[in-house]
Symmetry: C2
Subunit: 145 residues, 2 copies
DNA sequence: ATTGAAACCTTCCAGTA
DNA sequence: TACTGGAAGGTTTCAAT
């Protein structure tokens, strides 16, 4: 594990709130020079703490208003790699988490409507050696920035 | 809903892969001028499709190696706002999803270790009118970029 | 850590199809 | 209405102190 001090944590929080904040904007807030801030952010990227820059999207505005988590259980002989690969194949799948215990996987999906959800779940059930699924329909989400 | 054409989708995909991609870098890829690309990205932000820019963080490198989802059920009289507020209070909570049916909420947490997880779950159980929890320990995660 | 300079990007405005 | 092109201002980046 790399050494992360308080200034690094503040820089991370600022960038999590706005990934486009400029070095010259952050420098006075942490009391360092622009170059020093750049060196720290570069180090956070090189050490793998920051894995990338991205955007947050309102999927509802893109016609995918329905969000759900699908819990999946597999036969005991199904390897993890296959679990992830088969689930991840569907473009509606946003994330796959493998789980210790039951269920074996938790899959986050985003779809247009209920009919589309049905179709994606059917696809998940068909692939691999699925023994059962349980779907958790999301009513609302609050994610930490 | 705003009109999103193919070029907009390509810009969104590029920015999701790298939120720092510059206008001048994207312009030739979509066959437009820099100013035209800026106008489109501005419009995607103004219309609320792009809700923000952020960074992706490897939390394990920050000393929070353990990830889990906690399913929570509440008494029938608990309002949604309180569900979210009480869960969201803990800084270990990354996201709160309210669910239709059972459970009532799915809470994503990141913690240092199992002892820390125990402590956070205890905190979740104490607040509000929780009638039960079930914890899904994450072994691995794959998120779409 | 700071300074200074070069290169690059963003931003805006007027012009054009 | 949407795109192009150029010019101005700011930011990043690198080298030297």
């Amino acid at each position: 594990m790399t050494e992360i001090d308080d200034v690094d944590h503040r820089l991370l929080r600022m960038l999590r709130e706005d990934g486009r904040r400029t070095f010259s904007e952050m420098a006075p807030e942490v009391g360092l020079s622009v170059a020093a801030v750049k060196r720290r952010v570069d180090r956070l990227r090189d050490s793998g703490v920051i894995t990338g820059f991205t955007i947050q999207i309102d999927h509802a505005k893109l016609g995918r208003a329905v969000e759900a988590f699908v819990e999946i259980t597999y036969t005991g002989s199904t390897p993890v790699g296959e679990i992830v690969r088969t689930a991840y194949r569907a473009p509606e799948v946003q994330a796959v988490h493998t789980i210790a215990g039951a269920p074996d996987a938790l899959v986050q999906v985003r779809v247009r409507d209920i009919a589309h959800l049905q179709q994606v779940i059917d696809g998940l059930r068909r692939t691999g050696h699925v023994t059962g699924t349980k779907t958790l329909m999301v009513l609302g989400s609050w994610t930490r920035n």
